[in-house]
Amino acid sequence: MSRKLKFLLAAIGALALMMLGNMFLRFHLPPVTVRAEPLPGLTIGNVRVTNSLVTALLVDVILVVLAIAATRRMQLVPSGLQNFMEFLVETLYNLTHSIAGSRWTPRFFAIVATIFFYVLVSNWFGLLPGLAAVGFCESHAELATLHQPTIWDRISEHATARLAAPLPAKGGKESTSGTHTYWGCQPGEIIVPLFRSPSTDLSSNLALALVSVGMTQVFGVTALGARYFTKFFNIAGMLRAFRPDEGGQRRGCAGMLGTFMFGGIEFFVSILEAVTEVAKLLSFSFRLFGNIFAGEVMLLVLASLMPLVLTLPFIGLELFVGLIQAFIFYVLTLAFFTIATVSHENQSSHS
């Protein structure tokens, strides 16, 4: 009986929350922009400061302040914040050690751990409630002029000239402009948020991916020297056809052709390897961007459909997704580092 009563009370509570949310917290879905918005009146040299850049700096400050606060009064037996941070770093260090081995872990750890914590904090920063509502009021036309022409604009101009279909609003890509007035803004103006998670800005993710892939090459060369690049351009197999075989005999015509063909396959595989290296940039940056951006858009859409009730469980889901994405960025970077430091020839001779 009491169980039934509890269930009933919970249902009534959920309904009340739904009604309250629908009555007081209704809002119009703000325009969704793929690109980070430049903040008005903020320029460094020729570059407009975007809201994601501001947030990236803020995330850095958060991380630095946390690190300083945790290590200000170091104790041999840690407690409180120092204990917590030591636990985090130690767990991560042990995991790194189990993947990379004891030789490379000290060199890898600083980079991969920085990537993990930075991506984690910036993913979670975007989930702070009310973040999208704090910002400047901007009219559509002004927003369009604020944007610098980028490669995206050139692509879209090119495409629209071909299709002869005019865009509704160039630059901002506001699909749901409408005549809605946002709270605290003049009619026809929209809110440009002051903060935007760096993970939802493709440029910042691309920068992280460049660091990851670039350092992979650095560690590969450190470990293997110039031999590392034979992974991407391997003609050794084809040249082997013109040398005597293992027994010291000269190869016959058929043997030569066969060896040459196998060498050709190895060469093709090495070219594929080089293409994969470039595709890594794409998949790294778009994986993080796609997951976090899609999550935030989903939260916005759900909140505009049914405020308060529908969003709560999904914020939990997005917290989990943010953690997983930070972990995947960390693990993949670490795995690529480790693969790059292993000699290719050794591997093939073992098998």
Partner: protein, 76 residues
């Protein structure tokens, strides 16, 4: 029919069909990892790490589809 209609249709189809394969792939990866953990629970942490790497590779294909859909929606 307006070009916009086809644009929306194409974006929906791109991500919808593009998510099919990776969905199946991630399912297979998780199946393998879970049965491995079931047989050898001590190796759970190592299996999980490799599972995440495998999932990330399978997911990358869906990300490419998402990129195509986003380009169709917001750029073209």
């Amino acid at each position: 029919m307006e070009p916009t209609t086809f644009k929306l249709l194409a974006a929906g189809l791109a991500i919808g069909l593009g998510a099919l394969g990776p969905g199946i792939g991630i399912g297979i990866v998780a199946l393998g990892a879970l049965s491995a953990i079931g047989r050898n629970p001590e190796a759970a942490s190592q299996v999980q790490t490799n599972m995440f790497i495998g999932i990330a590779f399978a997911e990358a294909v869906a990300i490419y589809a998402l990129v195509v859909a986003l380009i169709l929606l917001f750029v073209v």
